[in-house]
Amino acid sequence: MLLGPSLVLSAILFGIGVIGAIVRRNAIVLFMCIELMLNAVNLSFVALANAHGFGGQVMVFFVMTVAAAEAAVGLAIILAIFRHTRSVDLKTMNLLQG
């Protein structure tokens, strides 16, 4: 069975997503790293669904829906911020820094 290797791959992809989210300063690439983490979680859901029943696949469906909604709203926020600062660099987003 592929359950063990799938969970290991899921963990590695999640770790890569975390590293990317910390290291990159571009807000759009940060969003892509979050999508990568969501994909890693989806992989572990599917792997566990393969061993324990279809509930996991239904959960993947919900995660995909939430990810699509999150991407739409998040990119709209980035668009609104870009109009103000003319940049998507996270260094320029420091209004709350005090």
């Binding site: 799938s6 791959l9 899921s10 599917v46 324990h52 029943g53 509930g55 990810a67 991407a71 109009r83």
Partner: protein, 184 residues
């Protein structure tokens, strides 16, 4: 044979993911992320989740990533210098990432049934939370077809969450328009 395909796709996915977070240009990052998602769709097929694999290609690699590329090209980002942080943040990032990976890998010793019994002790074995206990997936998928087997729990056990999802999508669509519009 299955294992060979799995490991090929797994290496493909990991290499694409690493390239995704190390590319300077956001467009290149997005395209490498699409490549990761295609590899994951292949792995989903190996794990008997053909419907989810189709959804992955259509919704993620299709719709969501096209939205990303639209925004990148709409903003017309001219990035000569790299936006990858240097020095301490890289060390912190790698440490946190490695910590997450090792924490997840340390779970591999525990069985799923034992973990479920510890986290939710009140749930009996035949409850809706455990729709098909123990490896009956292939027989169930063969009895009804692939989509029908997923539709069964989705429209019975998870009907209310499924309907709430539509409200969420409506709210997200309205919110995105409100946020992105210059003047209402």
């Amino acid at each position: 044979m299955t294992e060979f395909v799995f490991y090929t796709l797994a290496i493909f996915a990991v290499v694409s993911a690493i390239l995704c977070i190390t590319q300077k240009s956001p467009v290149a990052s997005a395209l490498w992320l699409v490549s990761t998602m295609f590899a994951l769709a292949g792995i989903y097929v190996l794990l008997n989740a053909q419907f989810i694999a189709a959804m992955q290609v259509l919704v993620y690699a299709g719709a969501v990533m096209v939205l990303f590329l639209f925004v990148i090209m709409l903003l017309n980002l001219s990035q000569e210098q790299s936006d990858i942080r240097r020095g301490l943040p890289v060390v912190v990032g790698v440490l946190v990432g490695a910590g997450f990976v090792s924490a997840l890998l340390s779970l591999s010793g525990t069985s799923v049934a034992g973990l479920a019994a510890r986290l939710a002790p009140g749930v009996p074995a035949g409850s809706p939370l455990d729709v098909l206990p123990g490896g009956q997936l292939q027989t169930a998928a063969a009895a009804s077809n692939v989509v029908g087997a997923v539709a069964e729990p989705m429209f019975r056990t998870y009907l209310v969450p499924f309907e709430i999802t539509s409200v969420l999508l409506l709210a997200a669509a309205v919110g995105a328009v409100v946020l992105a519009k210059r003047k209402l």
